[in-house]
């Protein structure tokens, strides 16, 4: 499988384009704005379908619950804001009016992760995957690049039920194409190794490919798995990877607790227990800076994945003693 760098683009543009496609295909798709329509690209839909766009202002609770009311009236409402505000400011609304209601509400949570950059910690949401994953009836997607974000947006609009998509502010590498497979509930095996599995979502998928490339230079063949569907989760693919490789690294732009890493840990504990190393933000808040600087500072590069892979394999082959916290991530060399 070739994984070419096809350029760079923020995933939020995939969301924006996906929305426009949905608008074209389905007359009952409605979009609600939260006063940052330009940032989360709902502006694209607004421009094309002004009659089906409603600005709710800075009121994420209301927007989420209005969306539930629209959904209970047969519409397919999307509401998008920064993830910090449309996954948490409205958490109670998501739980009761959306999830418990099984309302056909779609949420787009932008500016996720450290790569938000200079806006700083308040805007760099790193906790919402854990929360959304626990909500019954919820679908939770974290696409890896622009094209996958586009597909995921369309897919969530065309399924029935509550769904959330997480996307980012800054440009990230593009490597999936129109013909790359995408299906809600499915992970994709990007490379075929059996020495160690690197399971990632979002921008960390590309970093995992980079790590695999470096590992390959040492003769280590990593199976890179892209897991955009956090819920429903692809137990089969992850279990198979655990059985075939016996060692796993998870990588995500999220706290090391409760997110994709948590899902993989639960899955393997249930089906095929193996050593896992967790690459993510180590139980801290973010901060201002340029995305690249921050990704290095917070340990979200291929280097940590690479180093973690060596540790995970070592643990598999020789066992390990001592007790380490989840956030104890091997230092990048």
């Amino acid at each position: 499988m070739a994984h070419e760098l096809l350029g760079q683009k923020p995933t939020r543009f995939g969301f924006g384009e996906g929305l426009v496609t949905l608008g074209e295909r389905h007359s009952n798709v409605i979009v609600l704005g939260g006063d940052i329509t330009g940032s989360v690209l709902t502006s694209m839909f607004k421009e094309k379908f002004p009659d089906r766009f409603f600005s709710i202002g800075i009121a994420e609770q209301n927007a989420t619950t209005i969306a539930a009311g629209l959904a209970l009236s047969g519409k397919i409402p999307f509401f998008a804001s920064y993830g910090a505000f449309c996954a948490l400011r409205n958490a109670d609304q998501l739980r009761i009016s959306v999830a418990y209601n099984e309302a056909n509400v779609k949420i787009g949570g932008g500016h996720a992760g450290i790569s938000v950059g200079p806006d700083g910690a308040t805007h760099q949401v790193l906790e919402e995957v854990a929360f959304l994953r626990t909500l019954p009836n919820m679908t939770m997607l974290v696409p890896a690049d622009f094209e996958e974000a586009r597909k995921a947006t369309i897919a969530m609009g065309e399924m029935h039920g509550p769904a959330y998509i997480r996307f980012g502010r800054s440009p990230v590498p593009m490597f999936t194409t129109e013909s790359s497979p995408f299906e809600i509930g499915k992970a994709q095996v990007l490379t075929d190794g059996t020495d160690v599995a690197l399971i990632a979502c979002g921008a960390m998928v590309w970093e995992s490919l980079l790590a695999a490339q470096e590992l390959a230079k040492k003769g280590i063949h990593a199976r890179v798995i892209n897991s955009p569907s956090i819920k429903p989760f692809d137990f089969a693919t992850v279990t198979q990877a655990a059985r075939d490789c016996g060692a796993i690294v998870t990588a995500e732009e999220h706290q090391v607790h409760g997110g994709l890493g948590g899902a993989v840990a639960e899955c393997t504990a249930k089906n095929a227990p193996v050593p896992i190393e967790f690459v993510g933000v180590k139980d801290s808040f973010g901060g201002s800076g340029e995305p690249e600087e921050l990704m290095v500072k917070f340990g979200l590069t291929w280097r940590e994945i690479y180093a973690s892979a060596l540790v995970a394999m070592d643990r598999r082959d020789r066992g390990s003693s001592g007790v380490r916290a989840i956030k104890d991530v091997p230092q990048a060399q």
Binding site: I30, R52, I66, L72
Partner: protein, 317 residues
Amino acid sequence: MLQFVSLLVRTLFPQRSTHMDTATKQSLDFNTTTFPNQRTDAQALKAAANEIRRDIIRSLVRAGSGHSGGPLGSADVFAALYFGGVMRYRPEDMHWSGRDRFVLSAGHMAPVMYAALANAGCFPKEELGTLRKFNTRLQGHPGRDMHLPGVETSSGSLGQGISIAVGMAMADKLVDHSDRRVFTLTGDGELQEGSVWEAAMSASHFKLDNFCWIIDNNDCQIDGRLPEVMNVYPIVDKCVAFGFDTVVVDGHDPDDIMRGFDVFLTNQANGTGKPTAIVAKTYMGHGVSFMNDKFEWHGKPPSHDQAVAALEELAKM
């Protein structure tokens, strides 16, 4: 070594007593009366409200837990709403696409909505006896997952239903361009939730003259009277400042309640672009003298003896 001391012979959670002796069982039974939904006189609405109140008592005493105060206090408003020809619905088909909708934002008041729906004929009144019980369609707070006819949405977290209702009114007026109406009822303590004011702001922003917000102003909430717990007054000024055509009514006077609804119907008919707020002055627990205006009855069911006394009092009204 571990020793266990007769652990298994125990009830983890003691069962509530819901036992009833057969002597008084009759008066606590549900009947099969239903009421039509039409413009009518105060007398007819009073009769409906009385039956709703009795069904609230009947269902709560069986449940052994639940909210008496708010439901009893708002029974007159519910009677007008469901049986005064204000809200258009078909009891035999609560999914009728042309129906108006009611959203109970104050989810804990479910018993009065259930009683109104049963008295409209949406489901057998017998079923009111399953309130709050295992696997019931009459969940402690409305649960859309149970598919009870007439329950448009789940609610129970205060301040959410009103936003759902705004969303529905937007769908009707701004998307489907229909003349469907959306009603919602919040408590007055509920006004302390900021999300209520987000909803209110958006209802007037979108000129939803098809949106009617009823505030059950009983001046009570769980911990006491509103001005002590967190002062929400002046309610009318707030509603007006948030863009509502606001009318205050005596929530126990059918004619006055209908006057309130008529303000709303006129707003919609004239296309004023103003949503309507009806501040219904009520007494918590109204109709049952020992509960009347007592915030202690917010979340308590009557005991068996209290239920019998309440039903006797209501029968005389």
